[in-house]
């Protein structure tokens, strides 16, 4: 009997293996009756989502019933989405959510922030699980077609360079032969090489796998220049021992338009979010004041027609079709302030996160790219 044990056991194991052979687990396509089928391709996994996609007016109704706006965001990115000492969600992206909540529900605190990872960003807005995705998302054509409706770019980021102030470098042409510290395996590396090659300049690449080594080596003086998205450079610079010794050059070598996203299918919600953003931008226009958090009520009480139009209390700016109150936009402004106040709060000269010159994020009246259609 003992002699039978080995062959018997082997046969049983073999049988089990052979039966397990066949279709690998996961990835089964299931047909479900839905009003609309969304095929989600995220990091390679194919799923069919069976949640009903929102149609016109659905999201607003759901938000009003729920009593809060659900935003997907970050809780760990300095300046854009992070937590303050009391654990309250703050940041540029978070404030955009608060503006929408103030416009729609009258209360900027009526938000719920859902932290998502980079891999989850797409699915979470595709399925309509959240109402707004405000998470440092770069607007690209593929994402626009697959993830949701991209509203309006609120932050024009791009790859930039950080150098020591005393190096005398002002642009790439001064960097011929310099050593550049960069993180490996990113588009940053490729853009760096392409930029220098196009200008016919040489550089020495000092490449590290992890970000902290990159900046550690830069601050030690191993390289003259470091490169990354400008907002990341600003956050790193803020954490240096002596931030004033370093300067972020005004050049941008790649396009990263950061834009809040809403789900496909509900044009009303799409319009609502966009118009709230327009108001924040238009309020900064010096022709209207500019209208700040503090002066909203003064303008409402005055007879400044232009200002009151921007605040939405003069004429029909579309609020009836959008299911909002006429003073929705004024509420939004009162909650977070105009674009410059919003920007300066976190990233201005006295910003609580770091300081990053607005550059392309200047108001169009100052030559920047921040521009919005009129409220009327």
């Amino acid at each position: 009997m003992r002699k039978l044990l080995l062959p018997l056991a082997s046969l049983i194991i073999l049988a089990m293996l052979l039966s397990a052979c066949g279709t690998p687990s996961g990835g089964e396509i299931v047909e479900v009756e839905v009003t609309r089928i969304v095929e989600v391709t995220t990091e390679g996994e194919t799923q069919i989502v069976s949640a009903p996609a929102p149609g016109y007016g659905e999201i607003l109704a759901r938000v009003k019933e729920r009593g809060r706006v659900v935003c997907a965001g970050r809780t760990d990115l300095l300046g854009f989405g992070y937590l303050d000492d009391d654990g309250r969600n703050i940041g540029f992206d978070i404030d955009l959510c608060r503006a929408v909540a103030a416009a729609v529900l009258g209360d900027p605190e009526a938000i719920e922030i859902v932290p998502v990872t980079a891999a989850e960003r797409g699915p979470v807005i595709q399925t309509g699980e959240v109402d707004i995705l405000s998470r440092n998302v770069t607007w690209t054509s593929s994402r626009d077609s697959q993830w949701g409706n991209f509203t309006i770019t609120m932050f024009y980021d791009g790859q930039g360079y950080m150098v020591r102030k005393d190096s005398g470098i002002e642009s790439q042409d001064d960097m011929n032969g310099a050593s550049v510290c960069v993180t490996s395996g990113t588009t940053t590396e490729k853009n760096l090489a392409a930029d220098f090659r196009e200008r016919g300049l040489d550089f020495e690449a000092v490449i590290f796998e992890d970000t902290s080594s990159v900046y550690g080596a830069f601050f030690e003086g191993r390289c003259d220049v470091t490169t990354s998205d400008r907002s990341q450079l600003a956050a790193i610079r803020a954490g240096a021992d002596n931030p004033d010794d370093y300067v972020i050059l005004p050049v941008i070598i790649s396009k990263e338009p950061l834009t809040p996203v809403v789900p496909h299918g509900d044009d009303q919600w799409f319009d609502i979010v966009k118009i709230v953003m327009y108001t924040l931008i238009n309020a900064e226009n010096p022709a209207y004041g500019p209208i700040t958090q503090a002066t909203v009520d003064d303008i409402l009480a005055s007879d400044n027609i232009k200002g009151k139009t921007v605040l939405g209390v003069e004429g029909d700016w579309g609020y009836s079709s959008l299911g909002l109150e006429p003073d929705a936009l004024a509420n939004a402004l009162r909650a977070v302030g105009n674009y410059s106040e919003l920007y300066d709060r976190y990233m201005g000269p006295f910003g609580i996160a770091f300081t990053l010159p607005r550059g392309a994020n200047e108001h169009w009246t100052n030559g920047g790219l921040i521009y919005a259609p009129p409220i009327k």
């Binding site: 690998p24 032969g177 003086g221 191993r222 003259d224």
Partner: protein, 400 residues
């Protein structure tokens, strides 16, 4: 039961039922094990292919000729981001070879010295060697590399304030810049004639030594070989118009030194870390080998009247080599594979370049396949060479 079975076995060989026949059972077990292993591998392979197709991942190598698009910090051959992925991989491979070969040589030398120091009768030398060995065997290599790179090499003076040594040689946190002789246009002839002279000198040496052993006469094999080299050198100089070399000195331009021979801090930190780490292990291997030689050999050699260095060189070391070589091979392989930690300090070895390629080309499976095959090939070649040497030593031993 057992006795009746064996009784029946010895009586009735022809009619043992197959499920009790030992020969059948052992054969069946092997066949079944083979089926299980191969079946498992096939299942993994099929799973991989299906999953890749499902996710739209390509498993081909067609990306090899696409432009890489990323820079590499140092390269033995010319390279920039417009070269194809295949060239980038080659750059990484050459960098790995560079650090591995130099590392193996230096680690062997240092390890042998430390190993000999460890069995020295001089108390201080012995204890210093012990401290060195214990320190480097107990600290993880990654930690050592970080210490060498971030705590030592990064703290050297900045480029503008480099230490200047006679040569001129410049030392700063961006590297060690040496004045280096380089060949002129006519210098190629000089190099070739030197090489030819070296080969002829080796042949002369070997021939004259064997002649001495056979005939017993003294042939001046050392002098003859030296003469051959000198003649070929003079001939080479003459052919290259007496100007075969020029000295490339490093000059500071803009941000960095250009010219000369440059050793980057990444390469140097990796080399120093690997050498010191592996030398500690090699030291213990050498010590084990020497102590494995029978003490009687040492006594007999002393009785015969050999001096200590002669005892070591003629009696102890040749016998110790039998014990030293196999673990030494393992240490060489370890050094080669440990060089993949270059990733942590920014040296562009084959694993580092492979990872960048995966990110940029999106082909994880083919690139990792290439990296694994590379390390496998390096390891097999190293052990092949060393095993040949091993066999040669064994043959020259008296049969035991």
């Amino acid at each position: 039961m057992a006795s009746s079975t064996s009784h029946r076995k010895s009586q009735d060989r022809k009619s043992i039922p197959f499920w009790r026949d030992e020969r059948v059972l052992t054969a069946a077990a092997q066949v079944i094990s083979a089926i299980i292993v191969i079946g498992g591998l096939i299942w993994i392979g099929v799973n991989l292919l299906e999953a890749a197709e499902q996710r739209g991942l390509s498993l081909g190598f067609d990306f090899i000729n696409d432009p890489a698009g990323f820079p590499i910090s140092e390269s033995v051959i010319p390279y920039d981001d417009s070269y194809p992925f295949g060239t980038a991989f080659l750059v990484g491979l050459l960098n790995t070879l560079k650090v591995s070969i130099i590392g193996i040589l230096l680690a062997t030398i240092l390890g042998t010295l430390v190993g000999l120091a460890r069995i020295s009768t001089n108390w201080i030398v012995n204890k210093i060697a012990l401290a060195y060995i214990e320190l480097h065997r107990n600290i993880p290599l990654l930690v050592l590399l970080f210490i060498w790179y971030f705590a030592v090499f990064n703290k050297l003076p900045p480029a503008k304030g480099s230490l200047e040594l006679p040569g001129p040689i410049y030392l700063n946190q961006r590297g060690l810049y040496l004045s280096w002789p380089r060949l002129t246009e006519t210098g190629g002839v000089f190099a070739v004639s030197l090489l030819v002279g070296l080969i002829l000198a080796i042949i002369t040496w070997v021939y004259l030594r064997r002649l001495r052993e056979r005939s017993g006469r003294s042939t001046y094999f050392a002098g003859a070989s030296l003469a051959v080299i000198l003649v070929s050198a003079v001939l080479g100089l003459a052919l290259s118009a007496w100007q075969p070399l020029w000295i490339d000195t490093p000059v500071f331009e803009g941000f960095n030194f250009t010219g000369g021979l440059r050793l980057t801090p990444e390469f140097t930190a990796l080399l120093v870390g690997l050498v010191m780490y592996t030398a500690a292990f090699i030291a213990e291997v050498v010590r084990a080998g020497i102590q494995a030689v029978d003490f009687g050999q040492m006594e007999a050699a002393k009785a015969v009247g050999l001096k200590p260095m002669q005892i070591l060189g003629l009696v102890i070391i040749p016998q110790a080599m039998r014990v030293i070589i196999p673990p030494l091979i393992s240490q060489f392989l370890n050094l080669t594979k440990n060089s993949s930690l270059a990733l942590a300090i920014g040296y562009a070895d084959v694993f580092n370049v492979g990872r960048i390629m995966i990110n940029q080309a999106g082909r994880a499976v083919p690139v990792f396949g290439m990296v694994m095959v590379t390390y496998l090939a390096l390891s097999l070649i190293t052990s092949l060479i060393m095993n040949l040497y091993n066999r040669k030593i064994l043959i020259s031993e008296r049969a035991t």
